[in-house]
Symmetry: C2
Subunit: 333 residues, 2 copies
């Protein structure tokens, strides 16, 4: 686990797009986002206090999180100066960058000398077991998508937040780097060795109270030929009690695969449910989460109503409308 | 690729069971199995010439293959003496052992000094790409099983051998350590990083002549919750034109999963075909391969006839009866 709360390092991010991870932390775990650290030329602003390293320490920050994409895939000398100083002052570092903190000699040395930890969240830190398929206590919900990047993480986070608001027992379970940085823990599933994928998901979602829900962050799609194996491991390792169908209706083709079209929601429902029943015969498809960000309000609401009517399942956009309907749908399970 | 032909190292294998990999090489690539190297106390015998290192070199052997399981998971001092001498004399080494050749300092040093290569076939040696799903030329056949270890590799090898016999264009594509050692190349799919599994299968089965068949070694099962993600990557990365259903009818439960039962052949057919059509809409289920090794002859033949009648698909045991029926079934594709 990454120690919280965080000081969010934005470096010299050119714009808000480059600060996607930091934005996610601010939006979903504002209690973790105590302040931001910006360097000269930074074009991003999270609207939270600008803090020096010392100020952040005084306010209880434990980890400096690199919440920004770096230019050219290299940790620059200017960044490194700040990161080394942070280690010297007592921060841990956490990053989801492709180039790893652990591959930078200065950072490794400073962490060792100061007894601090470097978290590269793209890399598994645990030797996960082979999945054993044993039935676990507690309940699990998984969003499966018609495609990659249709809002599966946001759906799970929104459902978790709604349950927390209602006083229900609920945990968001991160399976990707952004989710891990937001919540401080999880499994970077796309970087796990093939044989251990399902076991990693079992490890992530252990026995729990009978009325506790794990909201497992989905990955890929059963219909996306590049990543379907990762999705399959979530369906079988997660042994979900409830599936949510995730969809983004404005795509011209599958993400990154110009020759492939998205499946219908009906095909997704039938395929995912049949596979999920292998691990949990009681699994049900309970609702639909549509990402309507590229639609106008009226168009979006009409689309949601049409899908709900056609599929006979509660349908919402958890960001535009809210996740209440999906949580309602879980209450009977 | 591992350089062939081989001298097969049996060490002090207590019995034939420990020599499974060497037996596979002898049976499926006899031209690669020039001789065996046995140490004092060896209880295995492949029925091929016992050769010293020097004799094997004279007969053209290029690689000493550790075709045997080791006791206690440790490469013993007695083994190491032979392996170092082999490197000094000019052999490469290849092994599928859990403990890696590259983790043994003496072997690494001897390989470096003598300019030789250590092949640990459990570990990927290539940075595989992300799958792009593009349609490839040539034809591909994949066996999907009701369970793990139902004879998928033997089915693919037997079909390849039958095609070679008929003068057809055909290649066996290994996806596991035994297959890699037998043929000298392939992808250790269960050790590949999740995101690159399907890409590794695409890499393994590139564009080919229109009348050429790749026989892709299957792994796991879509119904085995521990490994289904690996199987899914084969179904989508392999974009098979033809599926064979693999089955072992005497199992009490799924291998390693006492709480799980095997699916019916009907369920396997429907599930696998629907998923395969995502990557190749023209994919067909063309036949059934039953592993009848635990049945008496009459029982086995009756079972094959019953399945063939019930499923309406050519059904055989490629080891007991032969793979001719399955190859016949491909000729129309």
């Amino acid at each position: 686990m990454i120690r919280t709360p965080y000081l969010l390092f934005l470096g010299d991010a050119p714009d808000m797009l480059a600060a996607k991870v930091a934005i996610g932390i601010r939006d979903w775990r504002p209690e973790n986002a105590v302040g931001q650290f910006r360097m000269d030329g930074c074009g991003a602003d999270l609207g939270i206090p600008d803090l020096s390293l010392d100020e952040a320490l005084e306010q209880g920050c434990k980890t400096l999180v690199v919440g920004v994409a770096n230019r050219g895939g290299v940790i620059s000398a200017a960044w490194k100066e700040v990161l080394v100083e942070a280690l010297q002052k007592g921060f841990d570092l956490a990053s989801g960058l492709h180039n790893l903190l652990r591959d930078e000699d200065e950072l490794v040395a400073a962490a060792r000398v100061n007894g601090r930890t470097l978290h590269d969240v793209r890399i598994p830190s645990v030797a996960y077991p082979i999945a054993n398929g044993k039935k676990r206590t507690g309940k699990r919900c998984l969003t499966v998508g018609t495609d990659c990047s249709v809002g599966k993480m946001y759906t799970a986070m929104a459902m978790d937040a709604e349950m927390q608001k209602r006083g229900m027992k609920s945990t968001f379970r991160a399976t990707g780097q952004t989710g891990i940085l937001i919540t401080g823990g999880g499994v970077p599933l796309d970087a796990v060795i093939a044989d251990f994928m399902a076991g990693a998901v079992e490890y992530l979602t252990p026995d729990n109270d009978d009325d506790h829900w794990d909201h497992i962050e989905g990955q890929g799609s059963l219909f996306h030929v590049s990543y379907s194996g990762v999705t399959m491991a979530l369906v079988h390792g997660g042994q979900p009690d409830a599936l949510i169908l995730g969809h983004e209706p404005t795509r011209a083709h599958m993400r990154g695969l110009p020759e492939y079209q998205q499946p219908s929601l009906e095909d997704l429902r039938d395929t995912a449910l049949a596979l999920a029943k292998v691990a949990n015969p009681n699994c049900k498809v309970v609702g639909i989460s549509v990402n309507t960000q590229h639609m106008e309000e009226a168009e979006a609401l009409a689309y949601l109503a049409e899908v709900e009517d056609r599929m006979g399942l509660p349908t919402t956009d958890p960001i535009r409308v809210g996740a209440g309907k999906l949580v309602d749908a879980l209450e009977g399970i």
